[in-house]
């Protein structure tokens, strides 16, 4: 089922974008993941995930205005699309269902 499958890292990236809301671009996503997951990821690795997600239509992106702090280069802001949110929810539901089925912990 290629095209809709959601990897663990991709899921985290999408959740980070949702948390950051209006301010989700490369550096902030990277920092969010760094802090929350206590795990250093490279910008390159992040880019791969972002590209894949965009290909699947789970996120969309748009350039912002140029800012002086990055040598006049524009930021690219990411947003999770409706389809993305649906997929996230599906993934979450699936897990919850499965959690419920575990006899001892329930």
């Amino acid at each position: 089922m290629k095209g809709t499958h959601l990897g663990e890292f991709q899921e985290i990236v999408m959740l980070s974008i949702l948390i950051l809301d209006e301010n989700a671009y490369g550096v902030t996503i990277q920092e969010e993941i760094d802090q929350r997951m206590k795990r250093k990821i490279s910008r390159g690795a992040l880019q791969t995930a972002l590209t894949r997600l965009e290909e699947k239509g789970f996120i969309t992106s748009a350039y912002g205005e140029p800012t002086a702090e990055r040598g006049g280069r524009r930021k690219r802001y990411y947003q999770v699309s409706n389809r993305g949110i649906e997929t996230l929810k599906e993934a979450k539901d699936l897990r919850q269902d499965m959690w419920k089925l575990i006899p001892k912990l329930a």
Binding site: S42, A45, R70, G71, R74
Partner: protein
């Protein structure tokens, strides 16, 4: 733009590999992160983190993708080739200048490649070539180092075999040569001595005979296949036949060996068993000191050190243990070292070599010079291509607008350079074939060592060489055009002028002419030096003196017969010919401190001083027969008196020196004269009179020297029926001795000619291009009343300035090289004067002026109405 603290190299790499669509976002992110890191961790760590981040960007999602497949690229290449050929055809002048200068320069480059290919092949046919070494030795006299020899003691071999297990040694000896009688035929043969281990690890092939036995017994000899072919019929067997070698005894032929490969430094027609040497010592024919540890200039030890034996054990043995074979090592000993088999030829300049020899220093120098010439031609290409920028910029601009990438433009221009270079190679190979015989004749001993045959391998390396040359030549123009932005190149031409790297090109021209002036000055100085050496007063008269070799003739008989000729006025005898670098040596004891001192010596008869007009300033000459029974008198030079502290010439008369125990008295003192050559300072010198002569000096009274020579030859033939006369006039003898300088001049002359013609062609092209560009300017100037003369001065000034800069740089360099290295070789030498410098500069300037002014002149004469008409 990027932040200045970001490492720009890394930045550029990133820019190069990152997809254009992603670059802005990613680079922005990286920079933002970098700035944060700088605040947090400081500059160094931030830079390191940045680099790490960039390296981690190398992944498929980010890397640029190839835009095209292979067929597309082939089509592109084909199209570029067609374009390049069209361009070459269209710009005939440009193509001519470049092909001519590149092919001329390449021909010297090809000579170097051919030479190196030949030289590097030497001695590589031995299977264990990297494990075979030769022992070389350097004498130390009172801790002063003398010249290294290729020889080592014959006695060393057995000692070494006994003390270092596992190694193998073969011992060789040199100079087994002379007239031989074999199978009723007389032939001249030359070869070496070797022991029975010779065939163990040296890969020479035995054709007949057992390699282990053929060289075991004394007076055995192995002969080469070519000698067999020369002397014997097809079905005759040479084995067991006797070879009579004049002066060396009779040898029994025990085997036949294949001729030594051409690329072997050891060459032989005959190989005599080295045990013969011991046999001849036992017979009392040669002194036993020849094989000892003190007097070693005849024998060689070649060692095979197999992989399981440490090389250092041999090196240490040679360095430390050999000292015990000398009575007083601190006073006199030899230092022994190993020389690798493949390092012998080409190798360092060591004396007493066996077989072929080629010193590596001249090879290196020649290679450097050829590289410099080639660079000069490459500069021409670079220079002219950039000068054409104005014309081709439009082409590049249009291409880029139509979507050509930088790399495509780069490829196009590089390919153009390579095609041009390959075309030049064709002409270059023709020149190479023409120059080959002359080159081989100039380089000493080259006829035996170099073949320069055009083999398939050699041609392949030539092609590789041409491609590399093209790549280098095309690099600067290709980069320049590839970087050109389409906007700039399509705008007005004035904007481009600043672009076409004028200073860079000027630098190239200065470099070319610096090389040229160095060669011109070098020729001029060598010429002066040669003239000086030939005409320098040697302290004796050499006019009309004919020197001939005495050989084994009776001096008295020859003299009587020669004096019968009316053309011969005087005849004298000597052991050496002074002035051309040969002399004998004898050890005398200085009575003041009991030190043994080597002094130069020569044997002469009583007519010698008079014949050569060597001035006797005190005392008397030898009288006939006074030293016949016992040597009792000698004549010394002024320097001798000074060095031995004997006071005035008068005081020195009667002083006695023991010659190997025998007291000999000074009976006369001569004025100092150049007994050696002009490279050596005049040292202490002794004339002896013991009757050991090798040379006859004949004073010719007649003016017709050639006719007299023939008559002397007729007399010689009546006295000596076996040998032909070997004679030369003294002047010719000296001229020949300094012939090397003429050869150097020829070489410099040829290379200098190349350097100058290449540079001038480049200058010529540059002038033409720059005149084309300035044609309008000239027209305007003329309309405003500028005279032709003023225009010529104005247009030529810039180029002349470059030439003058080259002179300012080149003259001191050449002066220094000659003063410190080349003239330094001669003790009696010239100083570089204003004359040599001024003539060289004048010569170079004249050529450059001619090149420039012909072009500026025709430019200045153009009718302004024609150039200004259409705008």
């Amino acid at each position: 733009m990027k932040h200045p603290e970001i490492p720009s190299f890394i930045y550029r790499i990133f820019q190069w590999f990152c997809k254009d669509a992603l670059f802005e976002e990613l680079e922005g992110d990286l920079e933002e992160k970098f700035l944060k890191n700088m605040e947090k961790h400081g500059r160094r760590k931030a830079r390191r983190l940045y680099t790490m981040e960039v390296l981690k960007m190398i992944r498929p999602t980010i890397l640029k993708r190839k835009t095209s497949g292979p067929t597309y690229q082939m089509a592109l290449l084909a199209s570029y080739t067609v374009l390049a050929l069209r361009n070459l055809k269209k710009h005939k002048l440009f193509s001519f200048i470049n092909i001519f200068s590149l092919s001329v320069a390449m021909s010297t480059g090809l000579l170097v490649i051919g030479m190196l290919t030949d030289l590097l092949k030497f001695d590589t046919f031995h299977q264990h070539k990297d494990e075979i070494y030769r022992v070389i030795s350097t004498p130390y006299h009172n801790s002063q180092q003398y010249k290294t020899q290729a020889t080592s003691p014959l006695l060393m071999g057995d000692e070494m075999m006994a003390q270092i297990p596992g190694i193998q040694i073969t011992q060789l000896g040199r100079r087994l040569l002379g007239e031989a009688k074999l199978n009723e035929k007389k032939v001249f043969v030359s070869g070496i001595y070797a022991d029975e281990n010779f065939f163990d690890f040296l890969d020479f092939r035995m054709l007949k005979g057992d390699p282990k036995k053929v060289l075991k017994d004394p007076f055995s000899i192995v002969i080469s296949q070519s000698l067999v072919d020369k002397v014997f019929d097809k079905n005759e067997s040479p084995i067991g036949k006797i070879l009579e070698l004049q002066g060396f005894g009779n040898y029994t032929i025990t085997g036949v060996v294949e001729d030594a490969p051409r690329h072997s430094h050891l060459q032989f027609e005959i190989i005599g068993s080295i045990s013969t040497v011991q046999a001849r010592i036992n017979q009392g024919l040669i002194p036993s000191s020849q094989i000892g540890w003190e007097d070693l200039n005849r024998f060689y030890n070649y060692i095979y050190i197999p992989g399981n034996v440490q090389k250092s054990s041999v090196v240490n043995w040679l360095r430390n243990s050999t000292l015990s074979y000398y009575k007083e090592p601190e006073k006199f000993h030899f230092k022994f070292e190993l020389q690798g088999m493949t390092k012998i030829l080409p190798g360092p300049n060591i004396s007493d070599s066996i077989g072929l020899k080629m010193i590596h220093l001249p090879v290196i120098i020649f290679s450097i010079i050829a590289t410099a010439i080639l660079l000069s031609a490459i500069f021409n290409y670079t220079n002219l291509s950039m000068a054409r920028a104005l014309r081709r910029a439009r082409e590049v601009g249009v291409r880029k607008l139509n979507g050509a990438s930088s790399s495509a433009i780069f490829l196009q221009f590089t390919l153009e350079a390579i095609i041009l270079s390959l075309l030049s190679l064709g002409l270059g190979i023709l020149l190479f074939i023409v120059l080959k015989p002359e080159f081989i004749s100039i380089v000493p001993r080259a006829n035996q060592i170099l073949s320069l045959d055009l083999t398939f391998d050699l041609i392949l390396s030539f092609i590789a060489f041409a491609i590399i040359t093209g790549l280098i030549a095309g690099l600067a123009p290709s980069l320049f055009f590839a970087r050109l932005s389409s906007l700039k190149s399509l705008r007005s031409s004035t904007a481009l002028k600043a672009l076409s790297k004028i200073n860079f090109r000027k630098g190239l021209i200065v470099a070319q002419f610096t090389l040229s002036i160095i060669f011109v000055l070098a020729i001029s100085i060598t010429r002066s030096l040669h003239g000086y050496l030939l005409t320098h007063e040697l302290g004796f008269e050499r006019d009309n003196i004919l020197n001939i070799s005495l050989m084994d003739n009776d001096p008295e008989l020859l003299e009587t017969e020669l004096l019968k000729l009316p053309e011969v006025s005087k005849v004298s005898f000597a052991s050496f010919i002074p002035g051309i670098g040969n002399w004998g040596s004898i050890q005398l004891v200085d009575s003041r401190n009991q030190d043994s001192v080597w002094v130069a010596t020569m044997n002469v008869d009583h007519k010698y001083l008079e014949n050569l007009k060597i001035e006797l300033i005190e005392g008397r000459n030898f009288v006939p027969n006074e030293n016949k029974n016992r040597e009792q008198s000698m004549i010394v030079n002024e320097t001798f008196l000074k060095n031995f502290g004997l006071g005035s010439p008068r005081e020195a008369l009667g002083v006695v020196f023991p010659f190997r125990g025998n007291p000999v008295q000074i009976i006369g003192v001569v004025k100092d004269f150049h007994f050696a050559n002009l490279e050596e300072k005049i040292r202490s010198f002794v004339f002896r009179n013991t009757g050991f002569y090798r040379v006859v000096n004949i004073k010719i009274a007649s003016a017709d020297l050639l006719e007299s020579y023939k008559k002397v030859e007729a007399v010689w033939d009546s006295v000596d029926e076996v040998n032909r006369m070997e004679g030369r006039f003294y002047d010719d003898e000296i001229e020949e001795y300094y012939q090397i300088l003429v050869d150097i001049m020829k070489m410099f002359g040829f290379i200098g000619f190349l350097a100058i013609s290449i540079s001038c062609l480049g200058l010529f092209g540059m002038t033409i291009y720059s005149m084309e560009i300035r044609l309008k300017e000239i027209g305007i100037r003329k309309t405003f009343g500028a005279s032709e003369k003023a225009l010529i001065v104005l247009l030529s000034k810039g180029f002349l300035k470059l030439v003058i800069w080259a002179i300012i740089i080149g003259v001191p360099i050449c002066y220094y090289i000659f003063d410190a290295f080349i003239l330094e070789q001669y003790y009696y030498r010239i100083d570089i004067t204003f004359f040599e410098i001024a003539t060289s500069i004048a010569f170079l300037l004249a050529i450059c002026m001619a090149t420039i002014v012909t072009q500026t002149w025709s430019a200045a004469r153009t009718n302004p109405s024609e150039v200004l008409r259409n705008e």
